[in-house]
Each structure stands twice: as structure tokens, then as C-alpha cells.
């Protein structure tokens, strides 16, 4: 069955370092992949989208890579700040057929000052 895996253990890093979060998937051939940020008790907020034919996407301190051979996406936050502390969800989507996204359970990032 289709599966999306994100590290369930929290990632703790020091302020100023680069945080790298991983999203792996199996039995899935997504056309695109999205990353969302979710703060406690709030709804997710869209951050970045990357398509299957794109290797890398950047937005300010954020960078996403998408490797369809490894079936993996990496999400990087450079020069991390305590305000970046949140749960980060990846979501996979298709161009045809099922319209809705399928979300992973997210990885909690804690940036220590």
C-alpha cells in the first residue's frame, strides 16, 4: 500500500545551523510534492511545492529537493531560528486521477537558542 514516512522523532538543532528533514514514500509515483508548516493547535501553512521534473526549489532560507529515483524529498532550513520551531508535513499529489493530497505525519523541529 502507499506509504509516506517522515521521522517521527523530533529534530533538535542549535540556532544558526541547517535543519534537514526527510520525506520518503513507497508505492507511489507523485507528480508533485508540497511542504507545509504546522504550529501546535493550528492548521498547516503551505511553504513550497516541487514538481517531479524539478530537482530543487528555493525560497528565502528554505530549500526542497525531490529525488524520484530514491523516492525521497529533503527539506532544508538554513540559518535556523527558534521561530522555525514547528512540525513540518510533506504532502504528495498527482496530476491526474485522485486530486487530493496525501499527507505525512510530519517531523517536529525544535531550534534551540
Amino acid at each position: 500500500s502507499q506509504k509516506i514516512e517522515q521521522n517521527s522523532e523530533a529534530l533538535n538543532i542549535q540556532e544558526g545551523k541547517t535543519a534537514t528533514l526527510t520525506c520518503n514514500y513507497t508505492n507511489y509515483s507523485p507528480a508533485y510534492l508540497q511542504w507545509y508548516r504546522q504550529d501546535p493547535g493550528r492548521g498547516p501553512v503551505f511553504l513550497l511545492l516541487i514538481r517531479e521534473n524539478e530537482k530543487e526549489k528555493r525560497k528565502e532560507r528554505l530549500k526542497v529537493t525531490f529525488d524520484t529515483t530514491l523516492k525521497q524529498s529533503l527539506f532544508h532550513i538554513t540559518a535556523s531560528q527558534p521561530a522555525d520551531s514547528a512540525t513540518y508535513l510533506c504532502a504528495l499529489g498527482m496530476d491526474t486521477g485522485r486530486r487530493a493530497l496525501t499527507f505525512g505525519s510530519g517531523t517536529r523541529l525544535q531550534v534551540q537558542p
Binding site: G41, G43, L49, D95, R99, F103, G104, G106
Partner: protein, 115 residues
């Protein structure tokens, strides 16, 4: 500001007592979604509307129903809430774009407690 609004933010109901959660949007988006999210879990899609076209997920229990009377509003009805239905319920919208650019805009969620 254009946004997705959910009311109430917190809802307490009794076991078996019907409850309705509401969602409204000022984004004029074609698609509206309802998700259930339990602690440390992925948002689980219950159903979505593309305009008036209702799309139910295969594993959504019959206990959950939805209505979309117009573009702006969408309701989630839980006919007989059980203890296992306690969760955060998230409403989201999207434009309904083809080609994979369809990002979702979420409301703040309604936290449902079942006593």
C-alpha cells in the same frame, strides 16, 4: 484579508449527540476539504467538494456527512460522535488547478472533545 474561518474553535459534545462544525472562506476557491487530525498523526482526508461535486474517501465512516450549500460555506456533520472521533478537524480550500499547482489553504481547525 482573504482567509478560511472555522467555527467554533473548540467544541465539546456528548457521546452520541450530533454535532456540526462549520467552515467559511473568502478566497472564492472551488475546492473545499475536511480533514481529521489526531495527535502526532497526518491529516486524514474525510471528503472534499469540487464546486458542488462531492467526493467521499472510501474509508470515511458513514457517521460523517458534509454539506456545501454555496461556494463560501461547508459543514461537517457528525451524526453520533464516539470517543474515537475526538480530534482536530481541519477545513481547507484550494483553487482546483490542474497540473499539480493546487496548494491548500487551511483554517485554524476545530478541536472536538467527546465526553
Amino acid at each position: 484579508d482573504a482567509m478560511v474561518i472555522q467555527n467554533p474553535r473548540y467544541q465539546v459534545t456528548q457521546f452520541g449527540k450530533p454535532v456540526t462544525l462549520s467552515c467559511s472562506q473568502t478566497l472564492n476557491h472551488n475546492v473545499m476539504y475536511w480533514y481529521q487530525q489526531k495527535s502526532s498523526q497526518a491529516p486524514k482526508l474525510l471528503f472534499h467538494y469540487y464546486d458542488k461535486d462531492f467526493n467521499n474517501e472510501a474509508d470515511t465512516p458513514d457517521n460523517f456527512q458534509s454539506r456545501r450549500p454555496n461556494t463560501s460555506f461547508c459543514f461537517l456533520d457528525i451524526r453520533s460522535p464516539g470517543l474515537g472521533d475526538a480530534a482536530m478537524y481541519l477545513c481547507a480550500t484550494s483553487r482546483g488547478l490542474a497540473g499539480g499547482s493546487d496548494t491548500q489553504y487551511f483554517g485554524p481547525g476545530t478541536r472536538l472533545t467527546v465526553l
